[in-house]
Symmetry: D2
Subunit: 364 residues, 4 copies
């Protein structure tokens, strides 16, 4: 099925395996006339690149995006935009001892059952490298959203038990863990050092904020904004939970606490506070959307683990090679990308919600 | 857009407002030859019915489902199944004072912005009553899944801060809060009584378990099983968070703790424990799927609240009428229904994953 | 699969069998604020009704449409519109002798193979009665298109070998064959009388014209306007061919004849003639869209026919009951309906084609 | 919108402009385990190549396909297959005088209106070169269909008024016009020579036959097999009509002539003749599917033509460069490709039609 397709009007189809020839994405339905070039996309891809961070892997990836179609004279044409990154650093030899085993916490076992075999070269389609395609698509969506006054930023909210409290946007790029709270970033670094020396890994939470949203984006009842964002973000590898506003915390509240009263602000109705996280009744309510995604710790750790091989025998494995001890910092831009793609798509769909607007479009 | 459509092969389209003539759903793509009748569906609808529970509203709904097409001589025909429930208890007068205001925590404001007006009769499409269509569709999906060895059950995991610890399936229907832990149910009742006397409401969490899953269900990378379930469940009104397995708890773990080693069980590979909650790499891994949905407290409370009316003036409102002080017990069967619809759809899609199976289907 | 769903933004899902309880359609994504009521829809349904025409069957159908949701205070709400017609004249007894045979020219055999049985009650889902759902949906689409300046009309272009030459819109409703050419209608009547006395049936062609189209509607390369219309119209039972403009006739022309030169008309570019039939490069070119659908003769004839029964034995059957000796006059409104649904959907999608328009929508 | 996407389970997304960097397609949902390599695909691409035919253009295209993902160790993996052809012969200079005009019979005008500008480099996305992506996808689909016993072949049925009468499969590749009738091919050549010396072009019809179809493929009512094939084929540039079996000819027949009686053949029900063209009630009936597509004459002719430029002034143009005087021979493999993609997709969907098969799949 088109399991690799996402979206209704602005629809992306990703492809590529970590150790195949290339990875990429085709974007269909991007409106024409949007300024677009490789630099715009490369900027977001570089935020994903390992080696930049002290806690990232030292695999040199050198991912350079190429625009193969859909852009002409510096602007999108309205025809499909094909983006590709050709794999440079594909040395398989790091992975040879895991060729025939099912790595714990990885998709190997499921892929083998579903498809009859698996691409043992570093995780194939289930590798974190697949997120490159998402980020490339997200860069295009983000550029369009910027034109519409919508901005997205995300950051690492927590690393293991270390929670960020404050949100300083400038801090996010100052520390290798992409936290928005300077103090917490220091503590988190220490936690990371510990884990690394234990040959272990750590989980965390990414928080993403979307501002400038018009009211009413989302298509009840199944393509509600939070439902669509949920699918988009949960589809990122290693995500185990998604929440909005107070999220699971809302289940602990009383209605009198959790409801956001309406007031008049700048002459228009607005909520007095934002427990809802910017989504009400499944549609944007005008306030900043606040969502969080919980990431499990990186499954590839160098500690010995018990597993089973393809012949059905139990064996102990030690995963060699270079792996991030935490996924979250690299995932920050991926969460932004998926949010961008989802929001832009629903904003395009929303243009057709009122007969009055359709009529205005076609008769004025 | 087809915001009211969900699914690929087994696709449901719901319709209806709480105070319109009827509500219903059209199910397209249900395989033929499944035993089906109104009783099977009514059984699940009745689990949703208020008045049964001490903490449910006393609105008499008497929802009786009718099969209008797609079933012949007691079996599904393969053609679209149209189910409808004609509204009985539609008295609008309870809602008259809220006609022109935006109720806090409700979708009124967003609907008005998106569509240019709103159906003030009790919430219209955003009313909890819309879940009736989901439950009807879920009953059909559940019946098909039963034939395939897949069973689904859900229960109230927590009410406010009261957490259930044990899971006793028989207890679920013994207490009006649908908890699976008898002791917790008692404490939760007390919490509810307090809230009700305060004219307030309470949130909670529903946990849903799916057993008998084959391995490999889910379509990477966007229609992964957890991504699809996430969308399905988040689309239920009042849901603010969805998680799988250890969920947000996984973000606090180390890789060595969170990974589930593989062992041989009954001659086949299986996980030694189930931190993943039955989903690995976005596909079912053979273990019980465990998901949780966090529900915010019911927005409609009888305490006075500040809000804004359609003319742009702030005013205080008191919502009259009969409202549940907690959504969760009624939502238990809704979560099951959405899980059923999602899982069945992806199991049908999965039949085409291997050339070997397609070939077997067509040439043997 | 959602074989009974059609459309992207304005999406219809039809349901119902000829002899089931009811037939209907759910329309998702209809913009809000469109004036709508049962009379508007009934008007088109009545054009489909047999008994009105001398050559139509005398089955009294009395199809009365009911709006079950999606309309409030006389206007569409933006939520799904559910329309239903409850079957009145369901007497099965006319069909008893064909219960176990595969009627030549009918879908019985294919349905049985695909689904494992068939609904012998008058053709079930493959019956012409299924078109009632399409016409109901088409009436809503037509009403929206009218607001946008787009008008659709169709007529019987030919009956057997009798071709209409002129197009007089007022004549269409003056003759029972719905031809737009008075003289041809007379000759065609005679042809029909002959066929009826032979217990035989006749085929024909419907021509449909869509005026007021803006330029550029259609989504290359697969959802081109003609491709989408093609699917929509070919899906009507008994259609064996669809063509645009000169259609199959264009294959006989030279490029110098078939090309439509551009000129300036009313200060804007326009084509000097319309061999393209209003579609160029798969998009509307501003001129009247002209499409034709070829209908095979009604399969149900009273002449004895050789066929096979479900037990695998050859037998001769005589189809009793009341059947139209020609499908075409009843299909005229069905072709209009499918055209309306297709065109409206693509016009809604087209609103998002240029960044400039998206920006104007969201920032002005 | 995803106007460049086609299919449900086996879904293709094409991209690329004639003079952009590359063209390609992403195939999502191809079952795993199918033997696949560049040679298999190249074989079909080469049938499309101009220069091979006396009547084809002498543009050297040298299109070489590359598999960028989705194939491992010689077989499809089940993950998206990305195919690309990098443009070699992109010299723009041939097209400079048409940069600012709307070429008659071309999509320039529509693209400009829809997207706000157009890619003047040789037609961009509306160029015939876009079919390269379709053929590449079709080659993969065809390989899968072969495993299932389904074979597809097409040929030029007519060139202008010259009709082929006999069908000799071996003759198709013997003559540059790809006709299946040797005598007709000779007459057609003469017609072509005439047209070429007149600086004109000629239209024609492609006939496509699909054998080995199981019964019941197609999803009523909108994704009927003929409806889906119709959309697929009509979406090919220059197609103005599509018909099945007797097609428009069926409209001239009587029911007693057009109906195909059922008989027992090889112990199973089968039709005695094939007027239906292999599709009955919108589903395959077991017989060879016969469809025809009418192609208009190539719009790019070297005769002077009147047109309008982007500034709104009428002017005469002479299209220079190398253009095929007939599209049909190159389109033969394109029609096969679209048929393959459509049929395979619907065969995959059909696997889920009966509960009995779903149950067998999951419980045996």
């Amino acid at each position: 099925m088109s399991g690799s397709g996402f979206g209704n009007i602005f629809r992306i189809t990703t492809w590529g395996e970590s150790h195949g020839r290339a990875l990429g994405v085709v974007i269909d339905g991007c409106p024409s006339g949007l300024i677009m070039n490789e630099e715009i996309i490369q900027k977001d891809l570089d935020r994903r690149k390992p080696g930049a961070s002290k806690f990232g892997t030292k695999r040199q990836e050198g991912d350079k995006v190429e625009i193969l179609s859909g852009v002409f004279e510096g602007k999108t044409t309205g025809t499909p935009i094909s983006l590709a990154v050709f794999n440079q650093d594909q040395r398989s030899r790091d992975y040879s001892n895991i060729m025939n085993v099912y790595r714990p916490g990885h998709a190997d076992f499921c892929f083998d059952s579903k498809y009859g075999f698996r691409d043992y070269r570093g995780g194939g389609r289930s590798s974190g490298r697949e997120t490159l395609s998402r980020v490339a698509a997200g860069a295009v969506a983000r550029a369009a959203l910027k034109e519409l006054g919508v901005e997205i930023f995300a950051f690492t909210k927590s690393v293991g038990s270390i929670q960020g409290k404050t949100v300083d946007k400038d801090e996010i790029f100052n520390n290798p863990l992409c936290m928005a709270d300077k103090e917490a970033a220091v503590k988190a670094s220490e936690l990371m050092e510990e884990a690394m020396s234990d040959l272990d890994s750590v989980g965390g939470v990414v928080e993403c904020r979307i501002s400038g949203m018009p009211v009413g984006i989302g298509e009840p009842v199944f393509d509600k904004l939070d439902a669509a964002l949920s699918k988009a973000v949960m589809s990122i590898g290693a995500v185990k939970g998604v929440e909005f506003g107070e999220g699971f915390g809302a289940s602990l509240k009383k209605g009198s606490e959790n409801n956001d009263p309406f007031i008049i602000k700048d002459g228009k109705p607005a909520k007095a506070k934002n427990s809802s996280g910017g989504v009400l009744g499944g549609m944007s309510d005008g306030d900043e959307i606040i969502l969080r995604a919980a990431f499990k710790p990186t499954p590839s750790i160098s500690q010995p683990q018990m597993t089973v091989n393809r012949e059905g025998k139990e064996e102990e494995i030690v995963i060699k090679g270079r792996h991030d001890p935490i996924i979250v910092p690299r995932a920050v831009v991926v969460v932004e990308a998926m949010a961008a793609v989802t929001v832009l798509d629903l904003m395009l769909v929303n243009m057709a919600s009122k007969m009055e607007n359709v009529k205005k479009f076609y008769t004025e």
